[in-house]
Amino acid sequence: MIEQLLFYTFAILTCGGAVAVVATQNVVRMAFWLVVSLGSVAALFFLLHADFLGAAQLLIYVGGTVVLLVFGVMLTASGPYTTIKTAPAEGIIGAAVGLMLLMVLVSSIGSVDWGAISGRLPSSPQSPFTADSIREAHADEAIVNSGSTKVKTDLAAIQQQGRTVRQLGLSFLGLRPDRNLKEGGANGLAPGYFLPFEIVSVHLLVVLIGAAYLARAKRRAVSEDRVSLD
């Protein structure tokens, strides 16, 4: 119930922020609403027990990307609070197409039996994070033994909540403690994400250099015109 309450709060904030981004014409306000929307998405991630992901969302999106976008707005604004207005007809067409797309998506979501599909997916432990929680459960044996059954179950539930840092880290190192060993086939270990992780690292470096190169100081077209006029 609490979760539902929180979910609806943040879902409304998310959707409202997104719609506000679409509806607003001023870029800086769009950025503000985008912050609201993305921050709420981070909250949704916390609700989905993905703590690390939520923190990453805050750090990278809200703290990084949006700041970057606002930076871009400042660097490309030719006057204060520039608004480049969309023609009303386009807005209406866009809204219509968007609604149709939403309908398509919603009907798709509704028409799929996710449980059945989940069953068809490769089998995995019922709770994805048992490996870690079992270890911690052993460590907390003393606490649990001294407490009531209610505490015990609650604690087990808590321990399943959001403790994904270690698993994520290990999976980036190529290890999957949450997976059954037999899934890895003859090699004994389930595959992790070592290679994608490294590729992404290099990719980031390349992007860093590439973006710096692209955005380097250049003579602007107008200055050339001025030179020619002089």
Partner: protein, 103 residues
């Protein structure tokens, strides 16, 4: 504690996605288009994490979402650099002015 369920999250993701698409389709400001891209990616991320929680996708969903976030950051950096170049060349950020490839 009651559970919200997978479909609710998917709905949120769908709304984010559609808003992103419409944003991309209607905004004439290049930065606005970038914001639309971010929305679309976040819609996808919400779906991934929701699947990670409610289906046997498990940890993979979170991992992929993490990759998406990282790549989105990279994309934003490059796209912003492109937008700055666009601004340098056209003296505006209006993407409708970049129609040199018109047939």
């Amino acid at each position: 504690m009651g559970d919200v369920g997978l479909n609710a999250y998917l709905m949120v993701g769908a709304v984010l996605f559609v808003c992103g698409v419409v944003c991309m389709a209607t905004k004439r400001n290049g930065i606005g288009v970038l914001m639309g891209v971010e929305l679309v990616l976040n819609g996808a991320n919400v779906n991934f994490v929701a699947f990670s929680r409610y289906t046997s996708l498990g940890l993979d969903g979170q991992t992929i979402a993490l990759f998406v976030i990282v790549l989105a950051a990279a994309e934003a950096a490059v796209a912003l650099a492109i937008a700055l170049n666009f601004y340098n060349n056209h003296l505006t950020i209006d993407v409708d002015r970049g129609n040199e490839l018109q047939g």
